[in-house]
Point group: C2
C-alpha cells in the first residue's frame, strides 16, 4: 500500500500542512520537526504524490482562478489583469465560480487536487469560515495565491488592498458630508476584507466622536431580495440613517433600488458610498461615490506572483503580501446639498 | 507511425469534419462515402484518438464555456444559467475567455482538443471569420453547442434569440418615438447576431419608408476609446442622428459617455436603445431602454442540450436550434418629450 501525506501526518500526529511544509523545507518549520518528518517518511517509504511532482514541472501550463461570483465588476477586471499576464507567459487560465458557497469552494478545491492545473489564484467565498480544503490543496504541492478576499489563517502569498484605510476614508467622507447616522452594510462576518473595512468604519466614527450604534451595522447575504428587504426596513422608518457605506458593490446597487422604490432622494435624504469597480458609476442617477480598488492591477500582481513561483524550480513556497491602494472618488451620491 | 484523422482525411481528399462524421455514422454522410472512409481507415490501420474515446465515456465530467468577454452582463448571466444546470447534473464548468480575438479562440479550441473536457459551450469572438479550429475540435469527437453568437457554417446545436425581431422592434420603437435619423452601432460584420440585428433595423426602416443611409451604419471594435471617438464624430456635428440603436451593451454605454462629455441631452436631443442585460439599466441617468435577452435561460438551455448529448451513449451528434424571445423594455432614454 502506498503511504500518502495524510497517513504520514497521522503517524506523526501533525497536520498535513505542517508535514507538507516540513517536506518542502519551509523556514516556518523547526529543524527538529523537519528531522522527525523526514525520518518517518523514510521509515514508511513515503513517496511524494507523482501527480503533484509532475505539476511542479509545470506540465499543464494552466492556472485556475477561483472567484465567488461573476456578475461583479471587481472580479471581471481582476480576471482581465490575470489573463493579461498569463497570456504573456503563455499560461492557460481556467475560471471556477463558487457562487459565494463554502460547499462549492470545497468541491472546486478537491477537484483541483487532481493535478489539472499548476497553480491556483483564489478569492474566498462569503461563507468560507474553515480552511481544511485549502490546506489540503496546498499540501498536494499546488501553490495557491490569495487575492482580495485573502485567508489570514493560512500562511502564503496574498494580494489585497488597504481595506482598513478604504473603510476609514469612506466613513470619514460621509461624516465630512454632514452625515450623523451612518449605516455599515456588511457582506460577511468571515471575510478579512469585511472586517477590515468595518474596523475602518469604527475608527472613523471614533475619531469624530460619533457613537458606534450596533443596529447600524447590518449583515447581508447573497440573496438579492432578502438584502433589499433589510435595507427597506432600515430606510422606511422615521429615524433612518442619513448615510450608507456599502462594503461591496451589490449592496450599493441594492440601496439605490430601495431608494427608488421608497422615493427617497439620494443625496438629499440619504448619502451613499460603496466599494465598487462599476465602470458606469458616473452614469448612475445620481452618480455613485466610490472607493475604487485597483482591480486590474490586483489581478496582474496575483498572476505575476504565482507565475514567478511556478517558473522557479527551487522555491519552497510563496510568502509575500502585497497591499495596493484604493481611491476615494466622490460623486453625486454624497454631494452636500443646501436643503436637507 | 500512427495515422490520425487528419492524415486519413488527406488520403481521402475529404475534410476532417466529413471523415469524422462518416466514422461516427452520421446521417449527413452518404452510404457511399461512409463505405469509402471505412475502407481507407481499415487499410491505413487508423485508430481513433484514445483520448477522444475516453471522453465519450464522460470521464472528466467537465464542460468548457468559451466566451468573448467577461465584463458583459449577458455572458455573466448566461454562465450562471450554465452553472445552475451543470451543478444539478454534477458537471464541473471551466470558463475560457477569448477577449474577442480569433487567435485566442483558436488557441483555446486547440487546447480543448487534448481531452480536458467532455463538451464545449461556445459563443464566437467578434473577429471570428473562419472556423477550421471549431471543425477540428468537433472532429476529435468533442460535442460543441453554440449559444448567442452562433456559427452558421458548421452544422450542430445552437441556442440563440430572435435577433432579427429584436433589431426590428428596437428600430421601430425609435421610429414611433419620432426619430427620423437612426444610427445602427455594429460590433462585427462577421457575427450572425450582428447581421440579423442589422437586417431587423433595415426592415423596420423599409416598413416605415425611411431611406437606409449607409453612413448611419457604423462599425465598432473592442477598443473603448476608439469606439467613443467614432460616436463623438457622429454626434458632434450639425446633422447628427436623433436616434441610436446599439447592437451590444457596451456601445450603448459608450454612447452615454459621449453624450455626457458633449452635453447632449438624452432623450431630448438623441434617443438611445440597446441590446443589454445590464441589471441597473433602470438606475442610469436617464434609465436605458433595452432589448433584453433571456440570458440566464439561454445558458440553461445550452447546458441542457450539451449534457443531454453527453448522457446519451449512442447519439451521433447534436442538431437542434432553439430560438428564445427577447423583450423590448422602454425606459427614459427613448421617452418622447414635448420640446426637441
Amino acid at each position: 500500500m502506498n503511504v500518502d501525506i495524510k497517513m504520514l501526518a497521522k503517524h506523526l500526529r501533525l497536520s498535513i500542512s505542517t508535514v507538507s511544509r516540513a517536506l518542502r523545507d519551509s523556514y516556518e518549520i523547526s529543524a527538529k520537526t523537519k528531522q522527525r518528518v523526514k525520518e518517518m517518511a523514510a521509515q514508511l517509504n513515503y513517496q511524494p504524490n507523482p501527480y503533484a511532482s509532475s505539476l511542479r514541472k509545470n506540465k499543464s501550463k494552466t492556472i485556475a482562478v477561483v472567484i465567488p461570483e461573476i456578475t461583479n465588476n471587481f472580479f471581471a477586471l481582476a480576471i482581465n489583469g490575470i489573463e493579461y499576464i498569463s497570456q504573456e507567459k503563455k499560461y492557460h487560465v481556467l475560471i471556477y465560480l463558487t457562487h459565494e458557497s463554502l460547499l462549492k469552494e470545497i468541491e472546486v478545491a478537491n477537484h483541483l487536487q487532481n493535478g489539472r492545473v499548476d497553480g491556483v489564484l483564489l478569492s474566498l467565498s462569503a461563507e468560507t469560515n474553515k480552511y481544511d480544503h485549502l490546506v489540503n490543496l496546498k499540501a498536494t504541492g499546488i501553490p495557491v495565491v490569495f487575492f482580495d478576499r485573502i485567508c489570514e489563517s493560512i500562511p502564503g502569498s496574498c494580494i489585497t488592498t488597504d481595506d482598513f484605510e478604504g473603510g476609514f476614508a469612506a466613513t470619514e467622507h460621509l461624516i465630512l458630508c454632514k452625515c450623523k447616522k451612518i449605516a455599515y452594510l456588511d457582506l460577511s462576518r468571515h471575510l478579512s476584507i469585511s472586517s477590515k473595512r468595518m474596523q475602518g468604519y469604527v475608527a472613523a466614527l471614533n475619531k469624530h466622536n460619533i457613537h458606534v450604534d450596533e443596529r447600524l451595522i447590518m449583515q447581508f447575504s447573497n440573496d438579492v431580495s432578502a438584502n433589499e428587504e433589510v435595507i427597506t426596513d432600515a430606510l422606511d422608518s422615521s429615524d433612518r440613517p442619513d448615510g450608507i457605506f456599502a462594503s461591496v458593490e451589490k449592496l450599493a446597487i441594492a440601496s439605490y433600488n430601495v431608494c427608488e422604490k421608497l422615493k427617497i432622494n439620494i443625496p438629499e435624504q440619504v448619502k451613499i458610498i460603496g466599494f465598487s469597480n462599476l465602470e458606469i458609476s458616473s452614469l448612475l442617477n445620481p452618480s455613485l461615490s466610490t472607493i475604487t480598488q485597483p482591480a486590474y492591477e490586483i489581478g496582474k500582481q496575483a498572476a505575476l506572483q504565482l507565475l514567478r513561483y511556478l517558473e522557479k524550480k527551487n522555491m519552497t513556497d510563496v510568502h509575500e503580501t502585497i497591499i495596493l491602494k484604493s481611491t476615494l472618488i466622490p460623486r453625486g451620491s454624497t454631494k452636500v446639498t443646501s436643503f436637507k
